[in-house]
């Protein structure tokens, strides 16, 4: 039997990953001020357009999917 990795069994390590992740997010938000884009549309120039769009998209995605599940979820033997 192969060696077992247990690095994420320790909640401390999970916390470290999360902290690094949140720090990256903050850096990304700040970088937006300094980097210039070859924008095709005016709204791309707006401050932090991409982060907001990415976040809102995925929250909407999950909300709509939850609604959809209420509509379409069936037992696994539905067609049998």
């Amino acid at each position: 039997m192969a060696r077992e990795l247990t690095i994420f069994d320790d909640p401390e390590n999970v916390n470290k990953v999360l902290k690094a992740f949140f720090a990256t997010l903050v850096v990304l938000l700040i970088l937006d001020i300094f980097v210039t884009r070859h924008a095709h549309f005016p709204w791309e120039e707006a401050l932090d357009f991409y982060p907001v769009y990415g976040f809102v998209s995925c929250v909407l995605l999950v909300f709509i999917a939850r609604g959809l599940r209420a509509l379409v979820m069936r037992e696994e033997d539905y067609y049998d």
């Binding site: 039997m1 192969a2 077992e4 990795l5 247990t6 994420f8 999360l18 992740f21 990256t24 997010l25 990304l28 938000l29 970088l31 937006d32 980097v35 210039t36 884009r37 070859h38 924008a39 095709h40 549309f41 791309e44 932090d48 991409y50 982060p51 907001v52 769009y53 990415g54 976040f55 998209s57 995925c58 929250v59 995605l61 999950v62 709509i64 999917a65 939850r66 959809l68 599940r69 509509l71 379409v72 979820m73 069936r74 037992e75 696994e76 539905y78 067609y79």
Partner: protein, 586 residues
Amino acid sequence: MTSVPPALIFILGAVLLPFLRGRTRSVYSLLLPTLAFLDLLAMSSGSSWIIQFLGYDITFLRVDRLAMVWGYIFVIIAFISNLFALHVDKKGEIMATTLYTGSALGVVFAGDFISLFVFWEIMALAATFIIWYGGREDSINAGFRYILMHIFAGLCLLAGIVITVVQTGSIEFNYMGLNSIGSLFVFLGFIINAAVPPFHRWLPDAYPQASPTGAVYLSAFTTKSSVYVLARAFPGTHVLIYLGAFMTCYPIFYAVLDNDIRGVLSYSLINQVGFMLVGVGIGTPLAINGAAAHAFCHIIYKALLFMSAGSVLHMTGKIRCTDIGGLYKTMPLTAVACMVGAASISAFPLFSGFVSKSMTVTASALGGYVIVWFMLQFASAGVFHHAGIKVPFFTFFGHDSGIRTSDPPRHMLAAMGIASFLCIFIGVYPAPLYSILPYPVDFVPYTAGHVLSQIQLLMFAALAFTLLILSGYYPPEVRAINLDADWFYRKWVRGFLWFINNPLARFGKLTEKIFFDLVPRFVIWFTTLWAALDLKIIDGIINGIAGITIWSGGKLRKVQTGDVQSYATIAIVGVTILLIILMGYA
């Protein structure tokens, strides 16, 4: 001309397969794609292998830059998949995958409608066998549903081809454009095969039912052959832009809900093909390059994702989110391969999806397609959300399922290693890929603004996932299925069968009763009535007629065997007699 059609190498190669075993067969199955690759390298533009058939020129090898992109990637992925499947011992399955590869290459290099159609049908049939060899609970039924859908697509294509050939008198397969009833049918056949909603359910229905290795082949060839034929015959067809954009968004909701990891991957496959169709629909050189480049990259990372899911299934026998989790502990290399695939499909900078998808998205911006652009960005964030995070998270991290296993055998790891390497290599150094695209490339993916935009979009999509998981709002994994467009035909067909078995059958019985029971009885009754009138001479005659009616009624009833063959035979005999009579008159 020294090259042979690569299809020939695989299709003839498949004939020898059943006679080989063990190491010889392993070497042989890697030799076929290697030979085909050398064959491709020796190719030069133009048409060859032209055969006269019924007065038409059948062109088996039409080489140009568009075909070569698909030729290269199909052969590369055949090598990787064959390596991944070296342990497979079912001769039938190996033959099916080899024929499948060969016929897909046949489609790519077909210069005319007839050979295109023949290879197209072989591809559908071979894919059905791959599904049937899946050995999963629902493989057999899913295979039947698959073949029915593809026969329908094939018939649309055939109808379109017949109409087009009759109208134009030429069987050449080239740019068509959506401008006649014939081209409409051809188009319909192609988009069903590309899994455009609402004709998409055959894909997430059947692919998760294939074997761990079979799904890798399936993910590569069928839909991407469709992208190729659409790019060949319908570039710049605007309806494709909107079909494609819809196709990028619609499946991701189902991908969020699906419990089967390979089901999630199937839905994200449809989403990715949507990007390619948008590119084909826009039709500018940049957009066609984008579609071709994306097909190339997509085939590799999608195969990589299916290989990592296949490895999990191969080692644990399980692949549902509810059954697995925490597998990074004992399958670390598979987990890394999966995450490379996930980063690539999400188009993270330095991974292959980034250098290809951005071409299509840029083309949509340059074309001024505002709504489409927003949809593509939404789909980009969404694909990262489900294929980029959900797949690795629920498989390798998430809750610990308690399963302890190990990484798969060496050849499977090697196949995933090669695919991972290619994903990163193309992402870091896209020049070789750009050099084989149909049009000269004047596109720079790595600008500071573009890289930052993409990372921001993806990381904040990840933030949404993290917050929703931590808050417990993320839809929990449950053992269930989700109704999709197939509900209409799977449930309505039942209604139709009920109609045949009940009202229609009753009507049939009623007709039988009237003509074989009531009418003869009435005649008998009628004759007895006459007899009662004591007309002995007439009596005899009428009794005779009644007898004949009953006798022929009985004979006729026996003819109703319900056997299609006998009906067909009777019909043919009848038509023949009719013809003889008619010809006699003439």
